[in-house]
Symmetry: C2
Subunit: 453 residues, 2 copies
């Protein structure tokens, strides 16, 4: 990296980009407007493939779709990168209040959960307001009970309600098992309150503790359960047919490249994850991100000249169940992290980008400021230099790759996230067009930027 | 009826009601304000009973609940009236697109549908835009196919989109069977478009034709099916475990009366149906109507003096699957229709009343106008004299009973009607308070009105 310092004077002179670079970036920014191009990509994906849950037949169909789609888009190179992982099957799932007032509960198994014994689990429910409360339950105190965690996720544009809330989903089974519970139920990690749509998502076990079944109730069902609990002792039956299969499945990251004209080994990487959960269509999570970044790559591939560096679009395999695609990508590139100029990941639904945050070396901030000037007419603000980025690029980030965070408005994202309602009707085509322009312009400039990057 | 003419001069003099009657009606109109009383009744019902699908254990629990609740409310008499009917079991229900792009479809069986053979039905789908199109399909032309009807219900305050749309649900199986289809799928009769909530509801068979399974897709699932159909031949698998049980079940209408002080055999009847579908809580359909009319009766029972005529509140059994409670009520009163001064039924969710329509003899219109004066401050308009009323009082109406239509705003009702999302969170307590006041005031005045009524 020391060699880069030799070029710093270029930045110091304020000549971060040529006029032509900036003009071209502005053209890219506006090129997708009213095209509906990225929406068409999502529509093709959810219609011709449907969901892409990792390890299902639709996973392979999704990979084939992405390869064919990218090949049709003018990328110089399209290839796959194998990604292997264990497969979790959802199986059947149902629950009901048995006493005192029998009624069905709409639930969904959390990803990775074991099933219940044949015939289900019938047990009295013990409610905890938060996972912190459950964590205080003494060992053995929940023997033969179902633990319920009631915390409600808060809505926010930046999705900041997710982190505090999701601990119940991720670690609920661990703390419940430690207290001896037979199963754990949580209020869904989601902001919707109108429909009975439970939100799935991964959870984890502690290898030193018993594995117990874990499922999420829709918000309305959680309200109903709490109302019944207020009457007194409440028995719930839980039936889950979920299980982790023996052996592993090999899917693939699908990669399309616009090869750099000067330093093709230097890479600007953008992407999203191709896999989804099985309940909905995976239109927001993450057909949208795949489509935005593929369409951005297509716009760059359509320029008269190749940019100096390579722009790489990655449709990652199996993000949902353990960031397997992101980790495989990082493993494949462990010796070339330094060649990754910057990475940007779209995995926050289909809302418009309202902020550009970063995680770059201080020396690169003038470049970022110059890049941001192209976005200023879109009223995108420049955020702080402490971006954490998305899941798929997190391993590369930890290895030192700089990040560009093109933050999307997530006000409504968690109404649909990981539910059956994650369907294409939730996407406004114009919002995707907007984001495609931003990704194309920023990826292009990063590929043209001076060597400080 | 001729005897009534003797009293016409009272009306002609303009002395329809005494000042004290009108003052008391105005007090009743305002008495429920901010009380949350009817909401509390619905909350009790859905928490302590849950749904009340006809013939299920919850049906009996609902009847017991209504008897106990009415007994606690100050009615002079609370009793039940037996209602017998066949029982339909929903059983399991699932569907999926099998080819060309496998994906689950969210469906629900239509009430009364037979099940599919063991292992389900797999068949190619033939789409029709409307039931009128399906009706044109030649006999035998759909042999071995699944007919799909795509018409979409339109939103309207008065629910006027329901009638034209619901024909697909009620008669779809008849026309599909006539053309030889193996099953029928319809786009749900509902106005929602955000969640995957199929709408159930009754359908009918033609005894001269083969009975075929019938189910509704959520609006989003209907969109998805149509998108896949646009790719070419589409195979769907349908699995329904529904069936009609042998024998019959006896539930009950639950009746509470505030006995009239002068002519107790003359009755003003108000009510709603206690049964519901099983998918949701039956909070809107029709916990709300039961609560509104029970609370209105309670307010009248709490007056210092009994009204002249009897005010009767009926919580009808099994409206959903064939108006069995309403028919049983009419059969029990076939010799006393003329003693039913007027009837009003709340079965349109929890929206505010915006109009009072009627179906009365022309001679009674001055009474209606006088009654309406009490509602004018609430901005309730007086509608035409051609009301058709609700289902439960339709047999009494056909037998000659006059109707009061207290029309509720149903703009959002069909977002939730007959779905899993028919839950208590959809009810604004203040709207129920408002309606309770209207029902109490109108029932009171009808019970006080002169003999022209």
């Amino acid at each position: 990296m020391v060699v880069l310092l030799l070029f710093l004077p270029v930045i110091a002179n304020g000549e971060v980009f040529t006029r032509s670079d900036l003009d071209r970036a502005a053209q890219l920014r506006d090129a997708a407007k009213d095209s509906g191009r990225a929406f068409g990509i999502v529509e093709s994906l959810v219609t011709e493939v449907g969901h892409r849950m990792a390890g299902t037949p639709n996973d392979a169909k999704g990979v084939a779709w992405a390869v064919a789609k990218m090949k049709s888009m003018g990328f110089d190179r399209v290839y796959t990168q194998p990604v292997s992982f264990p497969v979790w099957d959802r199986g059947y799932e149902s629950a009901a209040i048995i006493a005192p007032t029998p009624q069905p509960l709409t639930i969904t198994a959390l990803g990775g959960s074991i099933g219940t014994p044949e015939g289900g689990i019938r047990a009295s429910v013990v409610a905890f307001a938060t996972i912190a409360e459950l964590e205080k339950a003494p060992a053995g105190s929940l023997r033969g009970k179902i633990a319920y965690i009631g915390n409600r996720m808060q809505r926010a544009r930046d999705g900041s309600g997710y982190g505090p809330a999701v601990a119940a989903r991720v670690s609920g089974a661990v703390f419940a098992a430690r207290a001896g519970a037979a199963a754990v139920l949580i209020r869904s990690i989601g902001t919707d309150a109108q429909a009975r749509t439970p939100h799935t998502g991964t959870m984890r076990y502690d290898n030193m503790l018993t594995r117990i079944p874990a499922a999420a109730l829709g918000n309305i069902d959680a309200d109903a359960l709490e109302a019944v609990l207020s009457l007194g002792e409440t028995t719930v039956e839980l039936n889950l047919g979920s299980r982790v299969r023996n052996g592993s499945y090999t899917s693939a990251n699908v990669i399309g490249e616009v090869l750099g004209s000067e330093t093709p080994d230097e890479v600007v990487v953008i992407g999203g994850h191709l896999d989804s959960w099985d309940l909905g269509q995976g239109a927001l999570d993450n057909g949208a991100g795949v489509a935005i970044t593929m369409a951005a790559g297509e716009l760059i591939a359509a320029l008269d000249e190749r940019p100096k560096r390579t722009v790489r679009v990655v449709a990652f395999a199996n993000e949902e169940q353990g960031i397997w695609g992101g980790k495989a990508y990082a493993a494949a590139h462990k010796d070339s992290v330094g060649k990754h100029i910057i990475g940007a990941e779209s995995d926050f639904g289909a809302g418009r980008i309202y902020r550009m945050s970063t995680r770059v070396r201080a020396e690169a901030l003038p470049v970022i400021q110059a890049m941001h000037q192209v976005l200023a007419p879109l009223e995108i603000v420049l955020g702080p230099n402490d971006a954490t980025g998305g899941a798929d690029l997190s391993t590369m980030r930890d290895a030192g790759m700089p990040l560009l965070g093109l933050n999307q408005d997530g006000s409504n994202y968690f109404d649909y996230h990981h539910t059956s309602a994650d369907t294409i009707d939730k996407i406004a085509p114009g919002d995707l067009d907007f984001n495609v322009g931003v990704y194309a312009a920023m990826a292009y400039l990063a590929a043209q930027a001076g060597p400080v990057f």
